[in-house]
Symmetry: C2
Subunit: 226 residues, 2 copies
């Protein structure tokens, strides 16, 4: 029995706990209500629908994570972008359900975020202007959000083959048909997209992320000097 009235704040907190425990898949309004010792309708009264709750959780997680970002006006642009990307990934690793929510719903909200203002400022100071600025912004942030979203794909036993099966199938690949895959399988197995049998939650691609990050930064740098 709750002592005080429910609030969006405590709802978001409970929702985040539920998401961390069971993932997006097990996050239901009924389970959330039960955890808060109320009824689904009560949650609807406070925060609208399921999408609004998830959106609010996402805001909370990102706001907290980005609070630690360095000063965008005094940090070199490449360093600031690296900090942004590592911070985003770390937050998503802590709350993987939010990674797939982000990659699937990040738009469509009022986004007066100081962090995005900072990113635009950083890119401006790096030398991007006008449409090339928008392009660089999208190239970077959509790559980061997308890459991390793919890395943290949830292990879904309902889809595809069992881990052992997939491992075996990779091992049995014909080197006539797939010569380059077979030649490089030691380094691809369980480490490369479409060849992993465990998702990034339990099998993080740390080295891969740093290579991707360098790819994005150096790719932007190359477009600075025209």
């Amino acid at each position: 029995v709750p002592e005080t009235a429910l609030s969006p704040k405590v709802i978001v907190t409970a929702a985040l706990e539920l998401l961390d425990e069971g993932g997006l898949h097990r996050f239901t309004m009924r389970a959330l209500a039960q955890r808060l010792d109320t009824y689904p309708a009560t949650i609807y009264w406070h925060v609208g629908n399921r999408g609004h709750v998830l959106s609010a959780v996402s805001d909370r997680v990102l706001d907290e994570a980005f609070a630690t970002l360095p000063d965008p006006t005094t940090t070199p642009w490449d360093e600031w972008l690296r900090a942004f990307a590592r911070t985003y990934r770390k937050a998503m690793q802590a709350h993987p359900a939010m990674a797939t929510w982000g990659v699937t719903h990040f738009d469509a909200k009022v986004p007066a975020s100081a962090t995005l203002d900072a990113m635009v400022g950083v890119l401006t100071r790096a030398g991007f202007e006008g449409e090339r600025l928008a392009g660089a912004y999208n190239a970077f942030i959509m790559s980061v959000v997308g890459w991390v979203g793919v890395e943290l794909i949830a292990d879904d036993p309902e889809v595809g083959s069992a881990p052992e099966e997939l491992e075996q199938a990779l091992h049995d690949l014909s080197s006539d048909e797939f010569p380059d895959l077979v030649a490089n399988m030691p380094v691809l197995a369980n480490q490369a997209m479409a060849f992993r049998w465990r998702g990034g939650i339990t099998n993080p691609l740390d080295d891969g992320f740093e290579i991707a990050l360098t790819t994005w930064i150096e790719g932007l740098r190359a477009q600075l000097e025209h």
Copy 2:
């Protein structure tokens, strides 16, 4: 009344039509059964569960799309990668539901794909080896799949604000609080992640995609000469 027995093939065809018309959200086993003039249980008998159907649809779409790719052994690596990315995006634009399915379930299946073998081969010939090869592969394909997935986020009226509301909110942004956002709003509005009020299905980011593509390619090239 169907004249011949049902087959996975006709199920996948009907599923793709259903997905193109209503998106992932309206793709239900019941609706699929109805379209095929049978019962849900019949579909289960032929192809397992909902995830398997979606996975099979994804395979079909990708196989058909990638059939047009140029010869990986005679095409310069950067050109082949560009062709791959543009082909993937075009296929996902034709079937947007598959973009968010891909970004959310691309792993976890037996992936003996000739196209991925080709990509590994192309990157090898470009000069990548061992772990740097796996890193470059992941950097590129996860960026492409992720970026396109974010671009093609479905317009979901259940989440966030209405388009007009969002547009108004962006217009009313305080230039004290968000100076760089306000200064660049003409070029960001409806064109940049988190500032769009229409998703990439009806509002494609064509220029942005080309900039992102150059970013990935040049970023990889920069890591070739060490």
